[in-house]
């Protein structure tokens, strides 16, 4: 393990520059959502009028609602399927064509979005309602989003499964519990924080996607990112700044909350383990 040392001045400088690069653009974006001028780069005084306009834009709100629904169902399906894939990768030593399985699970992590979008659309169109699958629309977007977010959930969950002390699972099995019972009573509660992070990751990835959704959306359904993308192509608009600020705020709150909950759960579990060891020791 690495030994923590005191961070040097050079180290602090590196971090300061890095974090400034990461955060300044977002902070400036939020600041200019309160600009009273339509010109997004010239400060003309404080105003909240763009937030008002935002909430009067029914089309935008409609698109936001569609996106939230897709993201919710994407995250839920992805969490279940991704966890199954993580169990298969970490807990089953070998099974036929495990290499193919591994390739299928990891390739979507790096596959360019234009290729995923095009290929799923062509698949759905040429299957043409074969299994009652729609070729375009909200359900098609859901299928596409689940497909590309499964891998992210698998990465998050399997790293947790590797850290998990297997002696707990083994002890339960020695006591006669079957695998399914062990999974639901022992494994699942321990990896629950990872499932939550996986769910949130899939949710934000889905909520964010413009490329894949554009391919499979069809004329009748529009998601929030597609709306934003279309309006940004027309130029900078303070209304988009206002929307962006709200999104950033919501995501940060949820992320920090999730991090805090899982950090607290970690601490408590470590304490319990220590106590248990002392009692047995």
């Amino acid at each position: 393990m690495s030994m923590p040392r005191r961070t040097s001045w050079l180290g602090w400088g590196v971090l300061l520059l890095g974090f400034a690069f990461l955060y300044l653009p977002i902070l400036l974006l939020m600041l200019y959502s309160f600009n009273s001028s339509r010109l997004a780069t010239v400060w003309a005084g404080f105003s909240t009028k763009w937030y008002g306009e935002l909430f009067r834009d029914r089309q935008l709100l409609q698109a936001a609602w569609v996106s939230l629904k897709i993201a919710f169902w994407t995250a839920t399906a992805s969490m279940v399927i991704g966890t199954m894939a993580a169990m298969a990768m970490t807990r089953f030593k070998r099974f036929p064509s495990k290499t193919t399985f591994g390739a299928l699970v990891t390739a979507p992590l790096v596959m360019p979005e234009v290729i995923i979008g095009l290929s799923i659309l062509l698949m759905l169109v040429s299957m043409g309602g074969l299994f009652g699958l729609p070729s375009k629309g909200v359900v098609a977007i859901w299928i596409a989003h689940v497909t590309f977010t499964i891998s992210f959930v698998t990465v998050v969950v399997s790293s947790r499964l590797q850290e998990l002390d297997r002696s707990l699972e083994e002890a339960a099995m020695d006591l006669g519990a079957n695998r399914l019972k062990v999974f639901f009573l022992i494994t699942l509660p321990i990896i629950a924080p990872a499932l939550m992070s996986g769910w949130l990751l899939a949710f934000t990835l889905s909520l964010d996607d413009v490329v894949i959704a554009s391919f499979v959306a069809g004329p009748s359904s529009t998601t929030l990112p597609m709306k934003i993308f279309a309006s940004v192509r027309m130029g900078v608009s303070p209304k988009i700044n206002a929307l962006a600020s709200l999104l950033v705020l919501a995501v940060s709150l949820v992320a920090v909350l999730g991090w805090w909950i899982s950090a607290r759960a970690d601490k408590r579990r470590q304490r319990e383990m220590q106590l248990a060891q002392q009692e047995n020791g």
Binding site: P4, G18, K93, F101, T106, L118, V155
Partner: protein, 308 residues
């Protein structure tokens, strides 16, 4: 990490149906919606554009008791005959490689410094690294428009302090695309590097110092070689998707930033030439195949917990 105990065989005690389901559901889903679609893209890349729905011809025909397969190579010859496509492929690869290198140069020092902080401090620091990538990608790209614009914050600041007289033209040039890619992909570089560097055994470094190595020597001969797998993973996570990037060059790059993702998008949405778009995708996949396989192998080892 706990070693695989002798109880390994006990893990086979899954009920057969459950085991098959746990493997089968993700397997079938990814086969159906990720792998098989590539075959369909391959098939359609040999078709011709047609005014129909779907807008392409069928490549198989059954006429006069003869079953014929009609492979139209026209899309591929067009890709190589028209220099526009070749230039787009080469420029995508160049942009991806340069931005990966820049991301590594910024990301490595960050990951290194964070990995040597105290456990609680590095958790917070990593949260801060990852947090921007949880907020909308589209919005982070959009944020740069207001900064890089000729009337934007950067130019106004530089002119305000008298460093330049004329605004710099950055937005809608390839430079803006580079900035956007480095900015958006930075967390994907720092994450695997950090995961690798944090596991570095510092006794090795102490031994090197005891033997009289200077800090930079110890870094070059111990830290850097040991972090190789993190560097590979980070570079693949940035370079492969960057080759096919569409949103960043489209929003920031202007007409001079030619990238293959934009060409594919244009063929599909503007020209409605699905077969040509498919051929563009197939050639891109072939170019990316070897990097993807390298990434796959490394990632699979990581997923199974067999860390090098």
């Amino acid at each position: 990490m706990s070693a695989r105990g002798p109880n390994q065989t006990g893990w086979r005690r899954w009920m057969p149906g459950v085991r098959a389901g746990v493997i089968g559901v993700p397997y079938l889903w990814l086969l159906l919606f990720f792998a098989i679609p590539f075959l369909i893209v391959l098939k359609i890349s040999f078709a011709k554009m047609a005014v129909a729905m779907p807008p392409y011809t069928s490549i198989v025909a059954y006429v006069d008791n003869a079953f014929t397969i009609n492979l139209n190579l026209g899309n591929y010859t067009q890709l190589f005959a028209d220099s526009q496509y070749v230039v787009a492929y080469l420029s995508s690869i160049k942009i991806a490689l340069v931005s990966t290198l820049l991301t590594l140069l910024i990301g490595y020092p960050m990951a290194y410094v964070i990995s040597r902080m105290s456990p609680s401090a590095r958790n917070i620091a990593m949260l801060l690294v990852v947090l921007p990538s949880w907020t909308s990608f589209l919005i982070r790209v959009y944020a740069w428009i207001g900064i890089l614009d000729s009337n934007g914050l950067l130019n106004r600041t530089l002119m305000g302090i008298g460093l330049i007289d004329e605004p710099l033209r950055i937005l809608y040039t390839p430079l803006a695309a580079y900035i956007g890619i480095v900015y958006c992909y930075l967390p994907f570089m720092v994450l695997p590097l950090y995961a690798n560097l944090v596991k570095l055994d510092h006794r090795l470094l102490e031994a090197a110092y005891d033997l009289g190595a200077k800090p930079w020597q110890a870094f070059l001969r111990i830290t850097l070689p040991l972090s190789r797998s993190g560097i590979i993973a980070g570079c693949m996570l940035v370079a492969i998707p960057a080759v096919g990037e569409f949103v960043i060059p489209e929003m920031l790059g202007g007409p001079d930033t030619l990238m293959i993702g934009r060409v594919l998008w244009g063929e599909f949405f503007n020209n409605r030439d699905w077969p040509l778009a498919s051929a563009v995708a197939i050639v891109m996949l072939i170019l990316l195949l070897i990097p993807i396989l390298i990434f796959n192998r490394a990632q699979q080892r990581e997923l199974e917990g067999r860390l090098a």
